[in-house]
Symmetry: C2
Subunit: 134 residues, 2 copies
Amino acid sequence: MTNATDPSAALVAANEAFYDAFDMGDYQAMAAVWAADHPVACVHPGSETIMGRDAVLRSWHDILSASSRPAIQCLEPKPMLFQQVGLVVCIEALAGGRLAASNLFVMESGHWRMVHHQAGPLNTVVPLSGPRQN
Amino acid sequence: MTNATDPSAALVAANEAFYDAFDMGDYQAMAAVWAADHPVACVHPGSETIMGRDAVLRSWHDILSASSRPAIQCLEPKPMLFQQVGLVVCIEALAGGRLAASNLFVMESGHWRMVHHQAGPLNTVVPLSGPRQN
């Protein structure tokens, strides 16, 4: 899947590296996935947005060192390129359900590095009813 | 909030235009928010990812013409700039709950236009338990 001459393939490979780091519980690999020279943010499922590399990596350290860390399989990665920025939308398959994920990357020194991750549940009833204010 | 000389302010203004289009139920304004010359995708809360401008706009047409469209207030927009790409993470406050949203924009002819939107519930129990596969 890695192909230095194909930015789209390299983007999908960077996305895979993110899930590999999670799967291995490898904090150093996870830290290497995330951008160092750009602003970063992360929305874990059901949680408030975390801003900044230090806070984002701290959240991953906690997740990767937890005993209850789930197995996640990344399915159907779809890369989208915008010059030096790349987005991968994919499905995260877990034992307990499926999440939709958006993973955003920027080029740093010739490598795609993550600047944003949001994952949220699929097939979930979200409360959308209620009176309009106007 | 609009300030042509400040890309970050213009980005937040573009994000506001997205929520204004939703609030007004204005499909033409929503169509103008979305990029025309770049790939686009959208993850509505609890739903599969929708790919491509035609399918994304069709989903918004359905949402904007529905009788049960909720009132949504965008709170705490946080702009992040990556050259010609901008990300706004924010809270969507609804009568029934709160969502975390990631809104991605690219520059097209000097204007920020949306290429990706993902919203998912906050403070929701997401099933993360289950046996690991390795």
